[in-house]
């Protein structure tokens, strides 16, 4: 008999759905990992800052791919737009205040998000993927050809961010950049927690599962997805600007297909549709790229490949997604 419900079925929302729960834990974990990274690798803060920038890109990708189900292999376009915008205003227009550079990066990322969104969302599935690849190549070529602005294949140099808040110079050891990066990541993470739990986040999850149903509820999937693309672009723009400010150079690789594909690999490794999954995947991939490639420069990519195959076959929810599911199952078990 299916219509009667047993008392065992709980009427209260499960803990993970409860309002505001988990946010502070998430923030604490990010800050704790940041402190541990600082203590363990004091001479390698530049790498850690690069990981943060990549994490922002992967978070951004998670918004459209993980939460909305959009297939894209061109997401670095949004990141690169942010990086070039922040770099160009400093190198060519003397706007060196890092927060102003960041603002330009965010706006450029959002605009690139709007452009990519409008194009990519016209198709679904395989054609969508092909459109995204075409877009990243177009962005790449544009940056390559406009070399008087972007430095072309030599990269954009002459980026000279002034002291953060007028107080903290960007030092050789990369301490200021690292703290700046951690702060940005923490702020973005908290804002995205709000977004994914908001009515809009719920609407996007619905679109991912069944856009036709969403239409029959009177909402436009295309408008919602375009909006998410703009938000995603702003987040990627933060990552791009952070990269430009911390490394003081922007290369064509930040607008590359390779970077787009790698960000997707990171996301799948960690687990799509979860902010923690995006962060986990980035850290694991970048750790492999740096530590394992130093230990074994010839086979590190092979190992990443093997890891990816293992994750896709045996833990399709990704490293974080699978771990989280295990914990939930254990907790719900009587």
């Amino acid at each position: 008999m299916t219509m009667t419900t047993t008392n065992a079925m709980i009427a209260a929302p499960p803990a993970r759905r409860r309002y505001g729960a988990g946010d502070l834990v998430g923030l604490a974990v990010i800050l704790l990992v940041a402190v541990i990274g600082y203590v363990l690798f004091p001479n390698n803060l530049a790498l850690l800052t690069r990981i943060i920038a990549a994490a922002l890109l992967v978070l951004s990708l998670d918004l459209v791919t993980g939460y909305c189900g959009v297939a894209t292999l061109g997401h670095a376009a949004l990141f690169g737009a942010g990086a070039y915008a922040a770099g160009i205003v400093s190198a060519h227009y003397g706007i060196n205040d890092p927060l102003a550079m960041l603002a330009f990066g965010i706006v450029a990322g959002a605009v690139a998000g709007l452009v990519c969104g409008v194009v990519i969302l016209r198709a679904h599935g395989l054609p969508q993927l092909v459109l995204s690849i075409a877009l990243i190549h177009l962005f790449h070529e544009l940056a390559n050809k406009a070399s008087s602005f972007t430095g072309g294949s030599d990269g954009l140099s002459g980026i000279a961010p002034s002291a953060l808040l007028g107080l903290y110079e960007f030092d050789l050891w990369g301490r200021t950049a690292y703290v700046f990066g951690v702060a940005l990541l923490a702020i973005v993470f908290m804002l995205l927690r709000l977004v994914v739990r908001s009515p809009f986040g719920m609407l996007c999850r619905g679109i991912k599962e069944d856009p036709i149903r969403i239409r029959s509820m009177g909402a436009s999937p295309k408008i919602a997805l375009t909006k998410m693309y703009v938000i995603s672009g702003a987040v990627a723009g933060v990552g791009g600007a952070l990269n430009a400010i911390s490394t003081q150079v922007v290369g064509l690789d930040s607008l590359s297909f390779t970077m787009s594909a790698e960000s997707l690999v990171m996301l799948v490794l960690g687990g799509t549709g979860s902010l923690f999954g995006a962060l986990t995947g980035t850290v694991v991939f970048m750790f492999f790229e740096d530590v394992v490639s130093a230990a074994n420069p010839f086979h590190w990519l092979t190992m990443v490949g093997a890891l990816l195959i293992a994750v896709v076959l045996f833990a399709p929810k990704g490293i974080y997604g699978t771990a989280a599911a295990l914990v939930t199952r254990r907790r719900e078990a009587p």
């Binding site: 079925m9 908001s198 009515p199 009177g218």
Partner: protein, 254 residues
């Protein structure tokens, strides 16, 4: 009474075949109409034309006196024409509370909001609890839909439609696929639909049609061949002919 929903001379052909051939009907608030017809009569095409998922070759659709023929499916939902699906279309990973809340938020123009959560919005939660309570789904409110029974999913499908506060409700076989033991609950829910709501139900199950509808429309070969009371429909010779025994078989099975 001023009709809340009107279809005027709707036509649509695929190739040379007129799948919807000059169909007209009009409904007033509170109407309970069943649309029946043998397989291939053009019911699905009719629904798609009315909801705006298919463009008619000719004719007009009006909601509350406003012509919506050139307005897309989303715009028609916003004007009060809401449908449910024959095969449940729900979001497997989401809970009943989230489904209804999403519909309420969408209706009230808040589905695009980037902050807050419906669990913290008293007016939304009040409506969610009220609707799910009436349909006996309160206890399942926070479980993923993939974990609840099909009969309950059908009720949730109805709850989502009602949360949109429709003026005209199109029910596409609301009891399809539901085990016999659960149809009572669905029939009760249908009986409890708001009194001023105009309901057009597409249904195969004649028992349900006779219990629910106060007016029956029979569609055959794309045209309306009968529009009248349930008591008259079985006596109509054209209806009998259209069904050519397939209805006799159906009533045997039921």
């Amino acid at each position: 009474m001023q009709p809340i929903f009107e279809v005027r001379n709707l036509k649509r052909a695929f190739g040379g075949l007129a799948v919807t051939n000059d169909v007209s009907l009009s409904m007033a608030p509170g109407d309970r109409v069943a649309l029946i017809g043998p397989n291939g009569a053009g019911k699905t095409t009719f629904v798609n034309l009315v909801t705006g998922n298919l463009k008619p070759d000719a004719g007009a659709v009006l909601i509350g006196g406003e012509e919506v023929t050139r307005i897309d499916a989303i715009g028609r939902v916003r004007r009060g024409l809401v449908r449910s699906f024959q095969v449940t279309r729900l979001f497997a990973e989401m809970t009943p509370a989230e489904h209804v809340a999403l519909a309420v938020l969408q209706r009230s123009g808040r589905a695009g909001r980037l902050f807050g959560n419906f669990l913290g919005m008293p007016d939304v939660m009040a409506e969610v609890e009220d609707l799910l309570g009436k349909l006996g789904l309160s206890e399942l409110m926070h479980r993923p839909v993939s974990e609840i029974a099909y009969g309950q999913q059908r009720l949730l499908e109805l709850a989502v439609a009602l949360a949109l506060k429709p003026k005209v409700l199109l029910l596409d076989e609301p009891a399809a696929g539901v085990p016999q033991s659960d149809t009572g609950r669905i029939e009760q829910a249908l009986a409890d639909l708001p009194a001023d709501l105009a309901v057009l139900m597409i249904e195969h199950d004649m028992d349900l049609v006779f219990r629910f509808a106060r007016r029956v429309i029979v569609l055959a070969a794309g045209a309306i061949i009968f529009d009248g009371s349930p008591t008259d429909v079985t006596k109509d010779p054209r209806v009998r002919e259209a069904y050519l025994g397939s209805y006799a078989n159906a009533s045997h099975a039921a």
